[in-house]
Symmetry: C2
Subunit: 390 residues, 2 copies
């Protein structure tokens, strides 16, 4: 634990698998909290989740549990359940904090746990709003977003590859913990909070206007490929097989794109003929196909190197479409994100690991190692008052 | 402001447009903080972002700024900039908190602002790790994820429709504020923190194993359609044109899916012939095409109603693929997420709005209204000591 980190001293118990709860604990751990992940004997169902390292150990599990302590208890039996209750209650003013994604089990109910620790902060992540089972991939299907993703002429819904609902539920869970803690420190009162993946999706898609738009217009925004909704952004193939994402949100960026590509005259003629105003981003969106078609020859005549050199001197927002291996190569050459680093780790050899997304000024922390399942059981239980553990 | 909310009393100044900074302020506001958004005269470039309501007012801007106070200052001139500095410094122990996405402007530099408020908490959201310009859509292109999204035989990269990097940067920004505040309350020290969209992407894709896998195997995970990586999840077309996402993460869920669809015998024969173990999720992923092909006839012979009735009695994780209009219809019938509600709002008529993803037990809050640009300028500036505002 780094004493300089802002959450140093805080003590969080985490009982949950896959992404949402472990990623919430990870975010708190990356800010300095002590996070104790409790698993059943043999591990939770995520213990072997792909991708795997060379020895068969899960890169996914390691990534999501870095910096945590790992405790294994027989959660199927009353002795292990009683020990968990003691773990949750312990820790004094900086303890009594529990994250879980387990609902409907009497031994992990808020009612029971609050008897031992009346000021408990318990954040429970659930799937559907009504408590029904769901995972990121079913929530996403039901959210409406899959029909708004992918090619304009696509044959059907496209899932997002990123489990974004899990990840957002995770960071809102971590946020809810710190908010509740602030309140507890001022009033002495704990909290039982619930974050449903379905609510995260519905809330997010309302905030950004997807659902209000469907409600107002009685139609769903369709998939529109790699175009950007409501402004100008498009995917530009290059002469060497590469592709670039080009974005012009402001009139200045748009003017710069036209100047760069030598299309100002053609675009101005078109603008007049179509009675459009391309300095307004809505009109750039409405006419995105013809505008992209006018811009594409400039890109199709250039390699990535040539296009990058020219774009680098413009105001246009742009980036190459890259593959994960390209990102890894950049990291290896010191040109990538400073919050990701290669480190040596038992069972993996050299592995990429992160210290989390927050930097203090220009400094980023060092990634923590991942525990082995259960390696901290003895040390954590020996801290319990009068222990003797089960 | 609801005094029962955990962040009641906190005072946050927000100077930023589009998604990351406004969504960070929104998350804090939904937990009870007083959030004052400061815009330049006429509004920031997001003031008219699509989708628009009937009167041309932005649903997007309204959604991202609910519950906030809106202040307009002439940020291009020294008087407005000086007023902003006073706003940032004010608020006592619960103030001195600033979120912005504006880097490289001397009048909003940490150095300058910290002169007036040495314990300032300043979280700056930037694009690229090195401070270069970027937006969600260019970060996503460069992250590697677009080549892992969309159909298996797709012609190129597919952007995610959700600006997930902005949203994750937002919730980590809100989290960083509360972590830094906790530290300030114990040590008296402020913090200057930076969150780069590029770091959020690199960190997230490292945690989940995408980048470590590419680093280890020297190849990038390809797009795999609506299948789920490393386990069994697939998209099932129905007889009536509907589609269902079916997921079996555990052996129990998998057994239930086979029982439901009457495919246990065929799958068992296949398992032996292929020397596979389909109770292991990795093997279900490796053989996903043949397994999905065996399961599909059961779905193709059923309507949504029939499939839903049968799946409802199983252990299988599933959901219909829906459109935004389906989600809106469910909300109207009281069957959707309780954190989204229809409310009457000036300039929009009836509009969908959210109170945020966190519920206290079963209770969810009421959505707040969105301010009109600048409507709180006078009242907020009149609170400044000795004011007289610009």
């Amino acid at each position: 634990m780094d004493r300089a980190l802002p959450l140093a001293g805080l003590r969080v118990i985490e009982v949950g698998s896959f992404i949402a709860v472990p990623a919430a604990g990870l975010a708190l751990s990356q800010l300095g909290a002590r996070v104790i992940r409790v698993d059943p004997v043999g591990g939770a169902p995520d213990i072997g989740r792909w991708p795997l390292g060379r020895d068969g150990r899960s890169l996914y599990w390691a990534g999501l549990n870095r910096g945590k302590e790992s405790v294994v208890l027989d959660l199927a039996g009353p002795a292990g359940q009683a020990t968990l209750r003691r773990l949750v209650s312990a820790g004094g003013a900086a303890g009594g904090i529990l994250l879980s994604n387990i609902a409907g089990k009497p031994w992990l109910s808020d009612e029971l746990l609050r008897q031992d620790r009346p000021d408990l902060i318990y954040v429970q992540v659930i799937g559907q709003s009504d408590g029904g089972s769901a995972v990121d991939y079913t929530i996403n299907a039901a959210s409406g977003l899959a029909y708004a993703t992918g090619p304009e002429d696509g044959p059907g819904p496209v899932n997002q590859a990123l489990p974004a609902w899990d990840l957002l539920a995770a960071s809102h869970t971590a946020l809810a913990v710190l908010a509740a803690l602030r309140q507890r420190e001022s009033t002495g009162e704990g909290a039982f909070l619930r974050i449903a993946l379905q609510d995260v999706a519905a809330s997010t898609l309302t905030t950004l206007g997807y659902l209000p738009e469907a409600h107002l217009r009685l139609r769903s925004r369709p998939a529109h490929g790699n175009y950007l909704y409501g402004t100008f952004g498009a995917d530009m193939p290059l002469s060497d097989g590469g592709r670039i994402m080009v974005v012009a949100l402001t009139a200045r960026q748009w003017d710069s794109l036209l100047e760069l590509t030598g299309t100002a005259r053609a675009v101005t003629a078109l603008e007049a003929a179509l009675d459009a105003d391309f300095r307004a981003e809505g009109d750039r969106y409405l006419h995105r196909h013809v505008l992209a078609a006018l811009l594409r020859p400039w890109f199709a005549a250039r390699s990535m190197e040539q296009a990058a050199a020219a774009l680098g001197g413009s105001r246009v927002l742009w980036a190459p479409f890259r593959r994960f291996t390209d990102v890894v190569r950049d990291l290896g050459q010191g040109r990538g994100s400073p919050v990701v680093a290669e480190m040596a780790e038992e069972g993996f050899g050299e592995i990429l690991a992160t210290s989390g997304p927050v930097r203090r000024g220009d400094a980023s922390g060092r990634p923590a190692r991942a525990p082995r399942l259960g390696e901290d059981t003895d040390s954590v239980l020996s801290e319990l008052p009068g222990s003797g553990h089960d």
